[in-house]
Symmetry: C3
Amino acid sequence: MSQAPFQDRFRDHPTLGIADWVLRGIGQVVLQNNPISGAVILAAIFYNSRIYGTVCLLGTVIGTLTAMGFKADRGMVKDGLFGFNGALIALALVAFTSRDFAHGNWPNWHLWSYILISASFTSVLVPAFGALLGPHKVPGLTMPFVLSGWWFLGALLQFSTIDVSSALKPTSPADFTGPRPDYTWGTWFYGITNGIAEIFFQDDWVSGVIILVGIAINTGIGAGMALLGSALAVGVGVVYGAHDDAIRDGLFGYNAALTAVALGGLFLRVNWPGFLYTVLGILVTARVWASMGIFLEPTGMPVLTSAFVFVTWAMLLAARGFTALTPIAPDEATTPEENLSRRREG
Amino acid sequence: MSQAPFQDRFRDHPTLGIADWVLRGIGQVVLQNNPISGAVILAAIFYNSRIYGTVCLLGTVIGTLTAMGFKADRGMVKDGLFGFNGALIALALVAFTSRDFAHGNWPNWHLWSYILISASFTSVLVPAFGALLGPHKVPGLTMPFVLSGWWFLGALLQFSTIDVSSALKPTSPADFTGPRPDYTWGTWFYGITNGIAEIFFQDDWVSGVIILVGIAINTGIGAGMALLGSALAVGVGVVYGAHDDAIRDGLFGYNAALTAVALGGLFLRVNWPGFLYTVLGILVTARVWASMGIFLEPTGMPVLTSAFVFVTWAMLLAARGFTALTPIAPDEATTPEENLSRRREG
Amino acid sequence: MSQAPFQDRFRDHPTLGIADWVLRGIGQVVLQNNPISGAVILAAIFYNSRIYGTVCLLGTVIGTLTAMGFKADRGMVKDGLFGFNGALIALALVAFTSRDFAHGNWPNWHLWSYILISASFTSVLVPAFGALLGPHKVPGLTMPFVLSGWWFLGALLQFSTIDVSSALKPTSPADFTGPRPDYTWGTWFYGITNGIAEIFFQDDWVSGVIILVGIAINTGIGAGMALLGSALAVGVGVVYGAHDDAIRDGLFGYNAALTAVALGGLFLRVNWPGFLYTVLGILVTARVWASMGIFLEPTGMPVLTSAFVFVTWAMLLAARGFTALTPIAPDEATTPEENLSRRREG
């Protein structure tokens, strides 16, 4: 009689199951279907801020319960697929309404109620994008978060009971004409580590390292890809001469790191063409982050993880058109390591 | 031998049929396939303004004739499905080029010719969105109007022969930081009734009431939902503290009222989960209206019914993913009452 | 034994094939699958500027080689379908970073490397849009170029090593209130010829005429349609009173000319309803160009060929809904003349 792997012991537990699904939901933000990864990542957020940790947990719970209330597919609920967008929208709403972006401020009751509806709604958007993309065997990724992020952050500018921070300030974009900044080792070190932390809106390089450990618990290849993605994105910023602050804060890296995790072994088998394709995706994601920033600047809205979603969608939609690549359907994709071994067995 | 219901006596009439289809087209703006509803709504518009009444009628006629000219599906033509987007684009073009938004100004011949092409083109967009959404059993709603509205209103800024009104003024969005306005009973009363009237660009609460009667002739549940949608949207504005003027003018309500009509019994069976789902849709639509306003402000373009379309599309696409909900395919959806009784018979 | 037509002699040649495919790629910008058309068009660009000619050739080569590297469908490669978006993105990147837009400046090595990645990525977007639109029998057109154009031009504003020209200046749109300009014969003559040249970012009426010859080599009807499209678009500008400069520079015409080529016989059989449908498409494309300009003005980004793509997509998606029209699937569409004769034989 086969035994479930250690990390799957509570997935079907009658009462503790919900805790398992919520932790997986936090792990799914970085595409890891593993409650231990989720727990480590949650600890990384609490390490930086008790407020953000609480908010992240609540957002995941709301998203998961909404899906259960309307009786969504139970397997998807158990895999944490209705939690991760709720986690992100809750974090975003607190981050962009707090005077202290780095650690967050406790929400007032208006904001709490606003978070409740917002996180609920992301669980509607999950099957909506599933219906559109499912036939193409492309996952919805964090698009429910991105779309509800734009909708629900944008609306805040019209409401007097919840004020947004100065980070959401509409301006007219200006061309950065130089001189090219003097980059240091700090540009690279903080840029790469914050690039991981910024996925969860955390401005703390230690959190970034702990999150990387959380990924590594589930997949070594995935953690390596996240690191590569963040590093190459810093490289794009350095080579073409972007603002030093933007690179250091991890803004170039957080989308590219996610693209790297998604394309580098998870939804695409790692072979030489697949690796080159992933590198191309990383380089393009770093630029698309930069471009989305320009497009959104007149509205004051943030890029969120839109660059990751758009580039990864395009490259997965295209992958079946290139016989050198081996795409893996979302419901078969587990970890890069398992994808490789299954292929060899098969 | 069965007799057609009273309201369907002229649907297949050889010469008077076109009048029936055009009136249904006006009714279809609020999703009512009933010529008497259409006639009452047309009267509601004429009550406020002879100009808007004439323009609404002409837009519906142009849309319907274009579809017949290119030989579109005759059943769709007879159901008024090629008229309602033409009605709306004609109303929008006059509303946003008139110095007197409330009652409209008579168009010059440049604008008349511009309306002709614009209303014609909406009848091309109807089967275009039908092709994209049909396989998902999701209706195109007023998206042909919204898209052509943005295209054809935007282009007007580049032409010297047709001037746009001050309502289309590009600006940089600002955060509304309060103090929270003092709302009165008028905020609620005018907000709710204008929320119905504003669907047709009418700034007149009496028109709103007559339009509600027009809906009630076809479906009592639908009229109740429209009222609920407009009221809850006013509630969103009041709770979160929006500008009093925006609420009173019905701007918060007109998208939410449409979402309520679409989700509340028409394309989704009314049961408890369906009702909660509709309420969630209403609350979200009110916010998305607010957000779309911020996103469009730098271009000066109006939100139109985009919030209704985007939220309703998302929630209908998602509905098949929740077993607690019972979606109804567009070609079977008639009225909430018939949807309920058919289900009980079946 | 049948002999391949003159223009197809090198399509399957073991070593010279690549030259054939690249020239077809240049021809495919204007939807002509003919290497001689491509060669004539390349000459038209070199006539205006050695820099633009070189850049256009290189972009096509990069796009084609990328597709071959990831093993794309060989038939599509041979038809030049992986080259034309690369040609356009390379031209756009040089045009909008050159102080001398008319003739271009030689790129620095930063820009060369930037062009390399950009042109490569368009070849990923080709099968991505193919996956989305293929089931609807609608071609991707130049959307890979448009999307990567916005992404990669937008990102340049964040980089200090590559400066953009004053043509990419974010501003707030203003309504053109007149007086209506005094148009001359030059408005019409330069407007129509530059409308063809501007497809390739060339500000030179002679280039426009040579490009038209290049199209005529493959299809007389297509060349006539391109001329009609550019002329009617000038007409739209003149009738509604647009800025004289915009018309003269061919800005009104270049999208409309492409819509005319696509709908006027290539993807839709030429009959009376089809011709009227094409004329409607031309008139609408001219307006959508004007509108997209307003929507993009706050970001400073150019319209590129987005108006052509959006209108043509909508009208082809809709065409199957009108029985008066005869759409032709992309893989059967060759030239208007062949489409007509095949239909008669069949």
